[in-house]
């Protein structure tokens, strides 16, 4: 029977109920009739009803049969459609599907179906809208963040942002370079043990000093100062003088809780050099004043004596000698002062470091005026393009351009060339503007130096002389008679050795590394023990060692240590540690194919006694992770007695953890695991290469461990202990 046509149970029930009601009606009627009748009538009725009962039953049946289809139709029309609609509406509510509910029955019911559909559509539209907005918002946040990171990394000021616990959550390239200068072991860890996301700023700064500065800021905020900042100068362990300017990071005002301080920004200046220069200048000044006073006093006394009319010739001669001596001494003193002051002068006007090559090509572009004046670059004898200059490039280019224009306008020169070279004077370079042909008189040159510069139709308030003075340099005209040429020569300061280094290092960063992690704002040193912290929120040092062999107890030694950091679930490749170590024993030839490190490479490298302290600092406050950690840890532990450094951090072993999540796999070698996780392996079998692969493996293991109910460090260590491999003590 077609289920659609099968009568509803409710219809049957209704029919039974109807039959019952009719029977009851008949019974009640019969009882009433019965009660009104005389006994004779009653017996007659009883007789009659006996024969009528069958007929009555039959009519009842007919009535019921007649009502049934109508009743069924009523139910189908009025009862079932709302029920069906209800089910469909529930489906719509429970799922994301949006299809028109099939509404039958009364017009009201059908209209209700349409309304439900409309509501569902409205819901979908709202949902899509919300999703879109969320997406747009997060995209713009991401954009803002990367814009900020880009900005930060380009800044020449070093910036470090910390949360209230002093954990670093942003730093820029300049800060990284600066911290390198602060490192105790600059050659080994390059400051990576001091600066890094999630690291504590208090390894560099005294905690109390920072707290004091924050307190100052807090107090001034309470007094209503809009954006107070605090300054302090501090010496670091490496003896450097740092000036820090601190401003507070506050929670957005609509975040409730007023504008509580959530962290701070430090802008750092290494003022060691400035301070030294300043001190030197002070000392110079003091030497000059005191020295001059002493000399003047001696001369005064001698002259007072010479004034005496009755002085003997011998004494007169002696006093005259005194005066000559003192004049000579003062002259010498002034000479030294002048020399030193000339060096000091370059710090007055803020000059920028610029590569000679860049300056030359910028000048060429500036001077070149097609059809009127051609500018070329002439190779100097000593590769001047590679020199680093300290210049105010804007005004210097203006000076060159204005001179070239005057040559073209007043002497009809059509072609000039530029040349840069190291000057005979230490710390100076000369920049020449060369032309062929006519030269001018000394008076003209004088005038050109003093006149306001005009280039490209624009008049500058500065003269060439001003520009030269700004550089603490010199300017003159020289003639090369043999080649019928002349040139203007600018004597300019070179950037000092260290400044050159800094500037050169700012360039090779191809991709922008991750120097920020604002999620660290949210984290705080919760009181919960390390073992109870979640694996996803810990900071790890993932490391690997290369060794001369497999037997640490039998005299094998570490020849390379490599390590990378994981902070907040992200692998920070650029905060890495990689160092070759002189094992102070020969490297067995058999092991060279494995690690690829030859004796030549380790000769002259620091010994483990120098490297281990740097690595210890690098790994401070983190959980150690290694593949087959027992092996590497054994090497480290054997050095404990000699270096006094204990690696007491908790250790996780990716080999054990891998065995834990994939107990049925045969191999838990690093290559095999990396292949399982589809990790591209680059540079394996260097310590850092392996450390990075291990880190990638570890990051993929964390969610798999979570599936097994292993969430915290304590759980992970306990579970790893119990795996089969753990029973094989190395």
């Amino acid at each position: 029977m077609n289920p659609r046509n099968r009568p509803d149970r409710r219809v049957l029930l209704a029919l039974v109920a109807l039959g019952g009601v009719m029977l009851l009606w008949a019974a009640v009627t019969a009882a009433l009739v019965w009660s009104t009748l005389a006994p004779a009538g009653r017996s007659a009725l009883a007789e009659l009803s006996d024969s009528m009962a069958a007929l009555g039953g039959l009519t009842l049946l007919f009535v019921l049969l007649g009502v049934a289809p109508g009743l069924n139709a009523l139910v189908r029309h009025y009862v079932k459609p709302p029920a069906r609609l209800l089910e469909e509406a529930r489906t719509l509510l429970g799922t994301d599907a949006t299809r028109a509910p099939t509404a039958h029955g009364t017009p009201d019911n059908r209209a209700l179906g349409e309304v439900i559909l409309a509501l569902a559509q409205q819901r979908d539209a709202l949902r899509a809208d919300v999703a879109q907005q969320v997406q747009a918002a997060s995209r713009s946040i991401e954009q803002e963040r990367s814009r900020l990171a880009a900005l930060m990394s380009e800044l020449t000021q070093s910036v470090v942002v910390c949360n209230l616990d002093g954990r670093i959550l942003l730093y820029n390239t300049r800060a990284r370079l600066q911290f390198r200068a602060l490192s105790d072991a600059p050659g080994v860890a390059s400051g990576a043990e001091l600066i890094g996301l999630g690291r504590s700023i208090y390894t560099v700064f005294d905690r109390k000093r920072v707290a004091h500065a924050l307190e100052n800021i807090q107090q001034r905020r309470q007094r209503g100062v809009a954006s107070p900042s605090a300054q302090f100068v501090t010496t670091t362990r490496a003896g450097q003088l740092l000036r820090a300017q601190m401003t507070a990071v506050t929670r957005a005002p609509d975040d409730g809780d007023g504008a509580a301080i959530t962290g701070f920004v430090l802008m750092l200046d290494n003022i060691t050099r400035e301070f030294e220069e300043e001190s030197a200048r002070d000392a110079l000044l003091l030497a000059l004043t005191e020295g001059s006073r002493a000399s003047l006093a001696s001369m005064q006394a001698a002259i007072d004596m010479l004034d005496l009319p009755d002085l003997e010739p011998a004494m007169r001669e002696r006093f005259q000698t005194v005066i000559r001596d003192e004049i000579g001494a003062m002259g010498a003193r002034l000479h030294t002062l002048a020399d030193n002051a000339a060096k000091g002068i370059k710090t007055r006007w803020p000059l920028e470091d610029m590569l000679g090559e860049d300056l030359l090509s910028a000048a060429q572009r500036r001077i070149d005026a097609p059809g009127r004046l051609r500018a070329g670059i002439e190779e100097g004898d000593d590769g001047g393009g590679a020199l680093w200059l300290k210049v105010d490039s804007f005004s210097l280019l203006q000076a060159l351009a204005s001179l070239a224009e005057r040559l073209a306008d007043e002497y009809d020169i059509r072609s000039v060339s530029l040349r840069l070279g190291r000057a005979a004077q230490a710390g100076r370079a000369h920049l020449d503007l060369i032309w062929q042909g006519q030269t001018m008189s000394t008076e003209t040159i004088m005038g050109w130096q003093m006149d306001d510069m005009v280039s490209g139709g624009e008049r500058s308030p500065l003269s060439v002389r001003d520009v030269v003075e700004r550089h603490g340099g010199e300017f003159w005209l020289e003639r090369e008679r043999v080649r019928h040429r002349a040139f203007f020569r600018f004597l300019l300061p070179l950037a000092s050795e260290r400044e050159q280094l800094d500037a050169a290092e700012l360039f090779p960063l191809g991709s922008r590394p991750e120097y920020y992690d604002f999620d660290l704002f949210q984290t705080s040193e919760s009181g919960c023990a390390l073992a109870d912290r979640r694996l996803t929120e810990l900071t790890y040092t993932v490391f690997d060692t290369e060794t001369t062999g497999l037997n640490p107890g039998g005299g094998d030694e570490i020849i390379q240590i490599g390590a990378a950091r994981i902070v907040n679930g992200k692998l920070l490749r650029q905060e890495s540690f990689e160092q070759l170590v002189d094992p102070q024993r020969p490297i067995p030839a058999a092991s060279i194919p494995i690690h690829g490190i030859t004796q030549d490479q380790v000769d002259g490298q620091p010994t483990i006694a120098a490297v281990l302290p740097a690595f210890h600092a690098f790994a401070q406050d983190t959980v150690l992770v290694a593949h087959n950690a027992a092996f590497d840890m054994r090497f480290l532990q054997l050095k404990e007695a000699a270096t006094g450094l204990r690696f007491e951090q908790p250790v996780l072993d990716t080999l054990l953890l891998s065995a834990l999540v994939h107990p049925n796999q045969e191999s838990h070698r690093l290559e095999a695991i990396a292949e399982r996780f589809n990790i591209t392996v680059i540079g394996r079998h260097t310590a850092l290469g392996d450390a990075i692969v291990t880190a990638e493996v570890f990051l993929r293991l964390i969610p798999l461990l979570a599936e097994k109910g292993i969430h915290t460090l304590g759980e992970a260590r306990e579970a790893a202990q119990q795996t089969y491999y753990a029973r094989l003590k190395y």
Binding site: T289, E290, G291, R293, A294, L296, A297, S298, M299, Q300, A301, A302, D304, M305, L308, M315, R318, F319, V322, D325, E326
Partner: protein, 124 residues
């Protein structure tokens, strides 16, 4: 009466002029060229006035002045500091350490002589 004066000056040019002048003015002059010699000379035969100008490395008029005052002699010598250090902090320090007068170089020899005479007249 001739006054005894000790000229403790390390700069030979200055010492020569001062020695010449004070002798000419009729003082009983002895000289010392460093701090040890100064302290020894004072101990041997206490002068009425010490003219201190010790600046060379390792010597300081301030130290000698303090050492002389520390000897706790009831009527110790008058002390005149002659110095190229002319900041007011230097002067304050010199006077605080027990100098009776502080003269900043250069100063006319006449002023020096007047100062010495003034101090000696007070004692006399």
């Amino acid at each position: 009466m001739t006054h005894r004066i000790l000229i403790a000056v390390d700069d030979p040019n200055m010492r020569m002029s001062l020695e010449f002048m004070f002798r000419r003015e009729g003082f009983d002059v002895s000289v010392a060229h460093n701090d040890a010699a100064t302290l020894a000379a004072v101990a041997e035969q206490p002068p009425e006035l010490v003219l201190l100008d010790l600046n060379a490395a390792g010597h300081s008029s301030f130290d000698v002045c303090q050492a002389l005052r520390a000897q706790d002699v009831p009527s110790g010598p008058r002390i005149v500091l002659l110095s190229a250090k002319g900041r007011d902090t230097d002067i304050a320090k010199g006077l605080a350490l027990g100098a009776d007068a502080y003269l900043t170089k250069p100063c006319p020899t006449r002023a020096l002589l007047q100062q010495a005479n003034a101090l000696l007249e007070v004692t006399a």
